[in-house]
Symmetry: C2
Subunit: 299 residues, 2 copies
Amino acid sequence: MTAEADARAVAAFVAECAGRVGGDIERQLGKHRDGELAKAVLYAGTGEGKRIRPAIIYATAQAAGLDFSRVDGVACAVELIHCYSLIHDDLPAMDDDDLRRGKPACHKVFGEALAILAGDAMQALAFERIACDAHLGAAQKVETMRILAATSGLSGMACGQALDIRAAGSQPDIAHLEHIHRLKTGTLMSACVTMTLACAGGAPDAVQSGLRAWAADIGLCFQIRDDILDVENETAALGKPRGSDRRQHKPTYISVLGAERARRELEQLGARCLAQLENAGGGCAMLRGITRCIAGQGL
Amino acid sequence: MTAEADARAVAAFVAECAGRVGGDIERQLGKHRDGELAKAVLYAGTGEGKRIRPAIIYATAQAAGLDFSRVDGVACAVELIHCYSLIHDDLPAMDDDDLRRGKPACHKVFGEALAILAGDAMQALAFERIACDAHLGAAQKVETMRILAATSGLSGMACGQALDIRAAGSQPDIAHLEHIHRLKTGTLMSACVTMTLACAGGAPDAVQSGLRAWAADIGLCFQIRDDILDVENETAALGKPRGSDRRQHKPTYISVLGAERARRELEQLGARCLAQLENAGGGCAMLRGITRCIAGQGL
């Protein structure tokens, strides 16, 4: 496949996954839509997001030979967790961003109080979605909810965001920056794979360990790419103000390593991710495509 | 038993439950204590709180003939959810309270950003606590997490808080005020009972329906009592600024009904709760004592 055809196939797949999870989120909210809080949740949970996390989940399901219906619940739940974190990250007390995904941030439309509560409610909804899933057994639900809680809380995403905010104005070494981003972005992306494997039950050991190794690095890959995009792209293309990380004086891969070394780091990490997929069997075509897009031009 | 002996027995029981759940929260945080975020969570999750929700859970376990160890997980989880809601409620964008449980609110000590993240992390920790519980089966974990998510999110506590904030400055009728407080306070208190029953499995139908009926009203009872205390008590005794609801111009049972009718409403509701316990069998002594304390002088 040419690189372009590859990118087109990935884009189509990601769009399919985005549609699947977007519809799911809307259905979850169907019964709650009358209230202002439900409107804020719907606003933040639907729209133009790339939904890369659900795409990773469905592509991992493909690699593990698992029917998509089995992972609809965890895909929806992970996206709800991600969306709640964006609402809270954008608050004035946090990153103070006015734009998100090409539209005004939740707190700009609904006010800060409702934005805080919308994030809180979305986190609860994520767990409710898995608990009520029709396609998973009880043990699978418990294990996926355990992973989701562990990777989004005190040992994962929330901790990473706290370290990220504290690092504003400082110039950490590359090891500390990597530590921050593995927590802030890496753990939940990694959870996309481990949750899917928990749904699959008996994937072969080699497939599992290859996918786990890939998962451990792809989030960091994505974050370096995001840092590069944050500097390179225009507001319109990115959907958030250009260079907002620089405005917050947050350390990024660009500010710590410089643009050239950051790009080399991304290339090397992307190559390592691709090598890890070599060990994960033949069903990884889409994960390979996603990796190339993250490490290269797309997504 | 005299009323005083009754109140002493309840106070001792509540203190025992508070110790149990406080120790549990500290153990959950033991592995995370190095970070600033974990410190904020520990600060907000430990200390002088009454821990009435865990007390309801343990007293319900007693009524259902269930060993306390079986409900330690849900007691800890409900208290973590309650504590996270207090952190977020106290934020300047929400109720803007500087004091909580007799000490500075979380955001006054750690800043707003960390307080938001501490609340987020505590919510995740609540679900992690149940998922990792050593005393419940998978189906019980799923059901209790489902109840916790449903009653704390968009159809429960978070929704009630959103309505409460929107009602500031208005004078709703009593039906709407009751609706707000049933969501804000009632649903999670009710969940204390339904989660415990889910842990118990096979309590007799009459016991279950009596306890469920009690649960549906006790939260409202507690809220009316809280509104009365908010006006009557001094800052020192309550641990939050005196009359903070009035400062926010929030409608309360006092502002809507007047002090006299609010007290009568509390009495009537308390009597109804006690009557409901008559149907729930002989193990309800402590729930009766808790009800009398909530509807009367204590707690």
